[in-house]
């Protein structure tokens, strides 16, 4: 029995932790939590406001203390990972509490809480606010992005999720996807042009934009998904209908924070007694509701609502009386009442939000399953393949493979050179930039078949045909095996691709000769390229590392890039 119960607690904790997003610190959470922050300070700071001025002073202190968390948001929004986010949110809460404590004496008002309690209370409160806020924001704003990622992944990795029954609730979505599929099939039957393929790609975007946007689009109000029934009340009721409240998971996860908060305020013994009483009563309430309220057709609504009501109207009052009649109680009736009301509301909200999270996540999964099912095996892959094949010269092909491979090769050459020099060539920051670039490229590396610059240029001219015309004239010594072939080829490719991508060049001419042990190159184009020498990207690092002298300048209507490579530049 005990092991079953502990398994249930662990399962519920795991479910809650799985539902936590990677980013908690966002500006949206910051602004949305401001009212709570303000109300929290106003309710708990002063026993009674003697003047309106004092009230306004506390409003100012609350606002400033909330603002003190802004640097953490700036710092944290780019740092993924639950661990670092929890750490930052706790620091935010501590800072907010400390700011309230130090501002109060400056403004001549008295905080009713001690410094330690203020800081602890703030840390706990901010932790909960941002946790809840991040969960809601994740489902409201990030869902669309996730769906797009799923579709992209299904295209690129040929994800096959078979034999999954699409959820009935995803009916409307399925209709849209079917329409889109028919459209794609029609396009593929004929000879698709680039424009047609682009239109179909836009269809995918539109599908996501118009039909997978929770809590925002009016069309969704008529749909079946939970979040489309906008309005918090109705959404909450629906949520409570579909999933049991993970009471034990919530209790286990909130217990450490409740203990910390209460220890600071009431002391150890009182906290232990009150918390134990609370948990005991919760067990009674949970067993009673489970025993007497039956779940019919998977509807948990009555059971869940009764559990929340019993928490507020049964457990709350009992623990309130226990606190009120505690010997040597230093708190007033108002104090205890406020604390009880706030903790009951917080708990009920937490139950609701956690259930909502489970529900949304389950529904999100059903939508994902539905999409995966509807994207028939390799349909979209075939669509992309045909597009690529029929437009081999198109930017698409270049982007999807050649350019990515070129970047991988550039990274390899730079890392090899750095390793040869035992990393004394450039600072770790530059090495990190190269690693970051490698991290972003998901495509596997393949060794370029052509090492000779003339062969690489021929391949390059071929892959960009239709978009840019590439002519070249290289001295025979440049293809000499004693030359740093990979480096030369890479630098030429970098210059050409830069001219096309950034300068929108249509005509490019590459000239190269070999004089006195130095390879000289000139790449002229009719584009309007930015002068890359001022940049800080991979291309710049590549030129700084391998080219002994390089310039980019405008001459009339042309952009001319020149660079030199010493014969002994690198054995790579």
């Amino acid at each position: 029995m005990l092991s079953v119960r502990s398994n249930l607690v662990i399962k519920e904790i795991r479910l809650i932790l799985d539902s936590l997003p990677d980013i908690w610190t966002s500006w949206k959470s910051f602004f949305w939590t401001y009212p709570f922050s303000l109300i929290g300070v106003l309710l708990l700071s002063s026993v009674e406001y003697k003047t309106f001025e004092e009230f306004l002073t506390w409003v100012l202190i609350a606002t400033l203390s909330h603002l003190a968390m802004a640097p953490f948001i700036l710092y944290g929004q780019a740092r993924n990972g639950v661990g670092i986010q929890i750490f930052l949110v706790l620091l935010m809460g501590i800072t907010r509490g400390a700011v309230i404590a130090i501002l109060a004496p400056i403004f001549g008002v008295v905080d009713s809480m001690s410094f330690l309690f203020r800081v602890t209370n703030s840390a706990v409160a901010v932790f909960y606010w941002f946790q809840v806020g991040s969960i809601l924001i994740h489902f409201m704003f990030n869902f669309r992005k996730d769906v797009k990622k799923l579709i992209e992944e299904s295209i690129l990795t040929e994800t096959q999720l078979r034999n999954i029954e699409p959820d009935v609730s995803s009916k409307m979505l399925l209709t849209r996807i079917s329409e889109l599929q028919q459209n794609i099939v029609r396009t593929l039957e004929g000879k698709p042009t680039v424009e047609k393929l682009q239109l179909r790609a836009a269809d995918i975007d539109r599908l996501i934009k118009e039909h997978l946007r929770p809590l925002s689009h009016s069309e969704w109000r008529e749909g079946e998904l939970i979040w489309v029934r906008a309005g918090f009340g109705r959404m909450s009721l629906t949520t409570l209908k579909r999933h049991p409240i993970p009471l034990w998971g919530i209790v286990a996860l909130t217990l450490p924070f409740s203990l910390v908060g209460q220890f600071a305020r009431y002391g150890g013994l009182e906290t232990l007694v009150i918390q134990s009483l609370w948990i005991l009563l919760a067990v009674v309430a949970w067993l009673t509701t489970n025993k007497f309220i039956r779940v019919v057709d998977g509807n948990f609504q009555r059971r869940n609502i009764l559990l929340i009501f019993s928490t507020i109207f049964f457990i709350g009052p009992l623990t309130f009386y226990a606190q009120l009649f505690w010997p040597n109680n230093q708190f007033t009736l108002g104090n205890i009442l406020t604390g009880q009301v706030l903790s009951s509301i917080s708990f009920a909200l937490f139950c609701l939000i956690t259930s909502l999270t489970f529900s949304l996540r389950a529904d999100e999964k059903s939508v994902f399953r539905a999409i995966s099912e509807q994207i028939r095996e390799r349909d979209l892959q075939r669509y992309i393949d045909l597009g690529v094949k029929s437009n081999a010269e198109a930017e698409y092909a270049q982007y999807l493979h050649a350019e990515v491979q070129s970047q991988l090769l550039a990274c390899k050459l730079l890392l090899l050179k750095a390793a040869e020099e035992d990393f004394k060539l450039f600072p770790p920051e530059v090495t990190q930039q190269i690693l970051d670039r490698l991290e972003k490229i998901k495509e596997p590396y393949t060794r370029p078949p052509a090492r000779l610059p003339s062969q690489r240029l021929a391949e390059l001219a071929n892959s960009w045909r239709g978009l840019a015309e590439i002519e070249y004239e290289l001295a025979p010594e440049i293809d000499d095996v004693a030359a740093p072939l990979d480096v030369i080829s890479q630098l030429i490719e970098e210059s050409v691709v830069n001219a096309i991508r950034h300068g929108k060049a249509k005509k490019i001419e590459v000239k190269g000769n070999f004089v006195n042990g130095i390879f000289n190159f000139e790449i002229s184009d009719d584009g309007v390229s930015d002068l890359v020498s001022g940049g800080k990207g991979l291309g710049t690092i590549l030129f700084q590392t391998f080219a002994s002298d390089w310039t980019v300048k405008r001459v009339g209507n042309q952009t001319i890039a020149t660079f030199k490579v010493m014969k002994k530049v690198s054995p790579v």
Partner: protein, 463 residues
């Protein structure tokens, strides 16, 4: 000295010039010393006032440091920053902390400014702590990045090696097929023709037979060499691919001596100077040396221990460190140092314990990242060696293939065959009979050349 300075500059002025989360490890000690300082200024204030004054200073300095790293040092992730900028940010953060504390104490509680101590000591402590953190964690980060770069490089090179191994196998089979399909039939044909000749007839024929046999065995050797390839290891992963994080060493595996001495001495100066003046600093520095000797002994034992007993001994070592520092603090007045306001022994021991713990974390991180970097370097060098070998081998094999298929080898053996056929004709026609000697010597010469060429191919492959 110059090298040490360069090392410091390289490590401390980059990404880790300011690392906010890591900076937090210096806060507990700094805050405690600051509260001690505040208590000394106004003994009548309750502890909460001292805490609030210290907190005000720290909050202001955090905000200042955050603003500075986002503005003055914003490019530190991309390139190293000027050293003077970093020094300015490190030390001015401490000054801001002191100024804010002074302002708060004066404004809120009507206390005096005490700027010399309130600003001087945090400037020294925070500035030096930030510089040390930048250096140590910059060094760790540098090794971590280099290790990651070597691993990535090895990954890319391994892909190339995989492709080259596949090509190598293909080229070897082609070369072998060319040898078997094109050269060996020629030799067999030659030996067939020689079998019809009467060896006793002429010594030159005997020499030709000998040459043909030599060529045949040279071909066998060559075929063996083609099939023999240096064993190229398969995909070899670094032994431990789990990333080294700062939290992964929360229980350090080593006991640091050098960094601990630096940290303890630094703490002694910070804590003792405003409290006991120069005498306190000297006593503290001697204490750091005493602890250094103690730590040296302990760390030598730790290094010799196996993992199982090591953890227990490390725990024991921390107890010894705690007791050692407590003993030293207790003995200070007894060995001749007269301090106005000495620290309580166990309080001082707790601070030292914290310093040794942090120093040991840093030391363990440095050791682990260095070891791993060396392993990755070795691995990528081996892969690069394989690549060089494979690329050279392929060039040789391609040359081999070319010589076998289109080179002079076939021509030379064909020439010898032709000469033998002419010998047959010579027996029937007087026209060729006069040239018999010439034909035989030419055939032998051709076979000699062919043999040398085959042996050269073999020598190339065997290199």
């Amino acid at each position: 000295m110059k090298r040490a300075f360069e090392r410091f500059k390289d490590a401390a002025t980059g990404r880790w010039a300011v690392a906010l989360p890591i900076y937090l490890i210096t806060v507990p000690f700094g805050a405690i010393v600051a509260i001690e300082r505040e208590s000394a200024f106004n003994k009548g204030f309750p502890l909460s006032h001292h805490v609030l004054i210290t907190t005000a200073g720290y909050l202001a300095s955090f905000l200042y440091l955050f603003t500075m790293q986002a503005t003055v040092l914003k490019n530190r992730r991309i390139q190293p920053q000027a050293l003077w900028k970093c020094i300015f940010v490190w030390y001015s953060t401490g000054s801001v902390q002191g100024l804010a504390s002074g302002f708060y104490a004066h404004q809120t509680y009507g206390d005096g400014w005490h700027l010399a101590v309130r600003v001087g000591m945090p400037t020294f402590y925070t500035g030096s702590a930030l510089a040390l953190i930048a250096f140590y964690f910059g060094s760790i980060e540098r090794r971590r990045i280099e290790d990651e770069a070597l691993r990535r490089l090895d990954g890319l090179l391994s892909i190339e090696r995989g492709e080259l191994v596949a090509t190598d196998a293909l080229v070897r089979s082609q070369a072998h097929a060319a040898l078997d399909g094109q050269l060996r039939p020629q030799i067999e044909k030659l030996q067939l023709l020689l079998a019809d000749e009467d060896v006793s007839d002429h010594a030159a024929i005997g020499a030709l037979v000998k040459r043909s046999e030599e060529i045949s065995s040279a071909l066998d050797r060559q075929a063996d060499l083609i099939l023999q390839s240096r064993v190229i290891r398969g995909e070899e992963k670094a032994s431990d691919s789990k990333p080294i994080t700062y939290l992964s060493n929360i229980f350090p595996n080593n006991l640091s001596v050098r960094i601990s001495v630096v940290v303890i001495a630094f703490g002694a100066i910070t804590g003792q100077l405003p409290r006991n003046g120069l005498a306190g600093v000297i006593a503290g520095t001697c204490g750091a040396l005493f602890m250094g000797i103690l730590l040296l002994g302990l760390s030598r034992i730790v290094k010799r221990m196996h993992q199982t007993g090591r953890v227990t001994f490390l725990v024991f070592s921390y107890v010894v460190v705690f007791l050692g520092q407590a003993l030293w603090t207790y003995l200070i007045p007894k060995i001749g140092f007269t301090l106005n306001d000495p620290y309580p022994p166990f309080y001082s021991a707790i601070k030292t314990l914290y310093g040794v713990y942090i120093a040991s974390i840093i030391s363990t991180l440095i050791i682990e990242t260095s070891t791993r970097r060396e392993k990755s370097k070795e691995l990528s060098e081996r892969t690069l060696g394989d690549l060089t070998y494979l690329a050279r081998e392929q060039e040789i094999l391609e040359h081999h293939l070319f010589t076998t298929r289109f080179g002079t080898l076939q021509g030379k053996i064909s020439g010898a065959i032709m000469a033998l056929r002419l010998l047959d004709s010579a027996a029937k026609s007087s026209e060729f009979a006069q040239k018999r000697e010439f034909l035989l010597s030419e055939a032998e010469k051709l076979l000699n050349d062919a043999l040398i060429e085959i042996q050269e191919l073999g020598a190339l492959s065997a290199k």
